[in-house]
């Protein structure tokens, strides 16, 4: 992978990337997950590399149709790393490429989830959501701008990966783990802040002793601010750990429980 790859031109790479972003998860299924869209996306480039040897391609695709699942944006890079290997037309190119693909999909999915699917959307979504509720579209414009910028980074980076291989990522596998770790830490901090600010559960039970009306919610909030938020987030977190529980079932449970709590005036 050290020598410059020149089998595929920039135009070929753009074509592959375009196909990949349009169809990277079409034909998603529980057996092979993202492999269908992958093979469809890489086909023109593979045809250019191996000419019209359809029999050979058919053999190679058997390996590429195997299980594949990663963060879709990092998939851009993995695709280019595989094509770089295939461009050598080495006898064992496909074996090596599929090994790279399988080896990278896990770690890169972890990193991608932490930054692209957790950290940024949670922060940007909170800003956009609040601003939208106040009637301003600005927050959404900002969120979309950040999203498009990141999207373009991964698009651009893909060309570099084809030219230089993925070594600048794989040689730093310990850094990759550390990066995932600190992004998770940042994620935890943001979630901690949002439990205090974005969740709204007020406990509105109160009782009267003589002339004094005591509110349970106020009392609890004096002990810990946003007590109701913390209590219910913890309860739901615990509930998600119950066997056979799913997020879909939990939505219904939260909906019913909160309607009951509201109807009986326990929460507001």
């Amino acid at each position: 992978m050290s020598e410059k790859n020149s089998v595929l031109t920039k135009k070929d790479l753009t074509r592959t990337l375009t196909r990949y972003v349009l169809g990277r998860q079409v034909c998603f299924n529980y057996e092979t997950m993202q492999s269908g869209g992958w093979v469809w996306a890489m086909h023109p480039a593979m045809k250019k590399i191996y000419g019209d040897d359809d029999k050979l391609l058919s053999e190679k695709y058997k390996s590429y149709f195997k299980f594949f699942n990663t963060h879709p944006w990092f998939g851009n890079l993995i695709m280019m790393a595989c094509l770089a290997v295939e461009s050598t037309r080495d006898e064992h190119a496909t074996e090596t490429a599929v090994d790279i693909r399988t080896g990278l999909m896990g770690p890169l999915a972890g990193l991608g989830d932490a930054i692209i699917w957790i950290l940024l959307p949670t922060v940007m979504g909170a800003i956009a959501g609040y601003q939208a509720m106040q009637g301003s579209i600005f927050g959404w414009v900002l969120a979309e701008a950040v999203g498009v910028a990141m999207w373009l980074v991964f698009w651009r980076l893909a060309y570099t990966v084809y030219d230089q291989g993925l070594s600048f990522i794989t040689s730093k596998s310990s850094s990759l783990k550390n990066l995932t770790d600190v992004c998770s830490i940042l994620g935890l901090m943001v979630v901690g802040a949002m439990v205090a600010s974005t969740v709204h559960v007020n406990i509105s039970l109160s009782w009267t002793v003589g002339e004094l009306t005591q509110s349970l919610g106020d009392l609890l909030n004096m002990i810990l601010p946003a007590f109701g938020n913390v209590l219910f987030t913890a309860l739901i977190y615990w509930g998600l750990g119950i066997k056979k529980m799913s997020s879909g079932k939990m939505v219904w449970i939260v909906l019913v429980v909160s309607i009951l709590l509201g109807a009986f005036g326990i929460c507001s």
Binding site: Y61, G125, E144, S174, L188, T198, V199, V201, N229
Partner: protein, 264 residues
Amino acid sequence: MFTPLQIILMTLLVAFLTWQKYNLQIIAYAAVVFVGLASGLIMGDVKTGLLIGGEMCLMSLGIGGYGGSSVPDYNMGAAAGTVFAIAMGQTGNTALATAVAIGVPVAALGVQMDVIGKMTGSFFIHKAMACSDKQDWKGMGRWVWLSQVPFTLLCALPILLLMTVGSTYVESMVNNFPVWLSAGLTVASGMLPALGFAILLKYLPMKKYGYFLLFGFVLAAYLNLSILAVALLGTVFCVFIFQLKEENAKLALAATAGGDNEDE
């Protein structure tokens, strides 16, 4: 209640969003706000659309289909909630209550649609593989893409049914909301964001780093810092931690290499 054009546009919008959510992903962040906006535009009340999109977006925070899992689809929910609130001429808090009452169950239904859609994928992938074995490249592409027909249709089906055969039922249901239900729905809209965060925590390293939750909580609850402020402050901490970890790794490497330090 709805014009045919509105029904067609909304069905296409949800189908498009289903495809783009998994593939193009150019509307990646705060997409639910976009759904509210677009639905509002189609229904002729952008302001209410934006309001409902914002509320649903806050509920959806933290919810993501990590590793191919199926999660509540708040795009579908926001679309369904918005069209009914606007069609019934509601604004403000009434519109929000209606959106929660209709949108949240639809979002939850999205889980089932997603699972069934991904199940149908098995049929198509085997057809595509068979074509590939026969070197029929056109057929391979066709089967791979045909899988999108049932998948996007399944996800667009709830909104289509609600806006056609279901509309009168939904309307009379919303019109006869008892007071206690409205109170309950307000509680639900405040509590549902907690579900998103709880799901998120299941994917974050709680055992190892869970105590950092407390840090963010204190900054927001006691010091009243905004989310952006917490995120920026957190970035400072995390860059510092990252540097420490990297240096430790270097030291460990140097120690195992017998003290030879070449990269200084």
